[in-house]
């Protein structure tokens, strides 16, 4: 109970933020991919986080620890742009290719937000670790 749970909580957040970072990396890598139809075009991926609540932990006797988990990966709903490029082997019969709907600026901001959140949780772990070590030394005084 207490400080040792913080490691689990912050750990779940580190995990979630890593997933978010992965999604951003995938989005950026696919920013300039083209496809032959509107349906096949790459859509940016967004992570949706969800708090882990006591009621949702299935086996009730498991020592509860809160935290966060990745609930879903959703597609960015913004529209896909199309570009006339008749020379492209992927172009449809009218000569259009369909670009991804990834906005590089948004992705960079998302990446910075994820990395800041990650750092915050690392700091939480560091503080908890220091306090735990001090608690162990309580009888040495």
């Amino acid at each position: 109970m207490g400080l040792d749970q913080i490691f689990g909580i912050a750990g779940s957040a580190l995990n979630a933020q890593t997933t978010r970072m992965n999604a951003v990396a995938s989005n950026l890598a696919n920013a300039s991919t083209v496809a032959g139809s509107d349906k096949e075009a790459f859509r940016g991926k967004r992570t949706v986080f969800k708090a882990v609540l006591e009621e949702t932990v299935q086996p009730r006797d498991v020592d509860f620890k809160g935290g966060v988990k990745v609930d879903a990966l959703t597609d960015d709903p913004s529209p896909v742009r199309r570009m006339s490029d008749p020379g492209n082997p992927l172009a449809d019969k009218d000569g259009f290719v369909y670009l991804s709907n990834v906005n590089e600026m948004t992705e960079m901001v998302e990446m910075m937000a994820a990395s800041r959140s990650y750092q915050n949780n690392v700091e939480v772990v560091n503080t908890a670790r220091q306090l735990m070590l001090r608690t162990l030394e309580i009888t040495r005084s």
């Binding site: 306090l131 009888t139 005084s141």
Partner: protein, 127 residues
Amino acid sequence: MNMIDKALGVHPQSLDLRSRRMEVLAQNIANADTPHYKARDVDFRSVLSESRTTTLRATHPKHLEVAELEGGNGVMFRNPFNVAFDGNTVELNVEQAQYGKAAADYQATLNFLENRISGMRKALKGE
């Protein structure tokens, strides 16, 4: 054993409570990007005074045991300055400040405990 408990005073309970508060704040920081998450906090004063009031005890074998009353562990929702568009009320700067303060409080309680323990050691050694 009872005597040692008395010598340590309120500090063991308070240490437990402070570590629980840090846990709640860590949960807030972990959920800083979760939609609809509401930040929570522990009211230290009310929980500590609650834990120090005497509870009902069965003094006769035919008495029924009284279940321990739980007031939701004193965890309450925080009043945010601003609510994010996604309904999240975690304000990272506030949480960080509170977490730092909670860590300092924890160390303060730890120091009190250390002093009590070293006092007992001195009494035992008789130096």
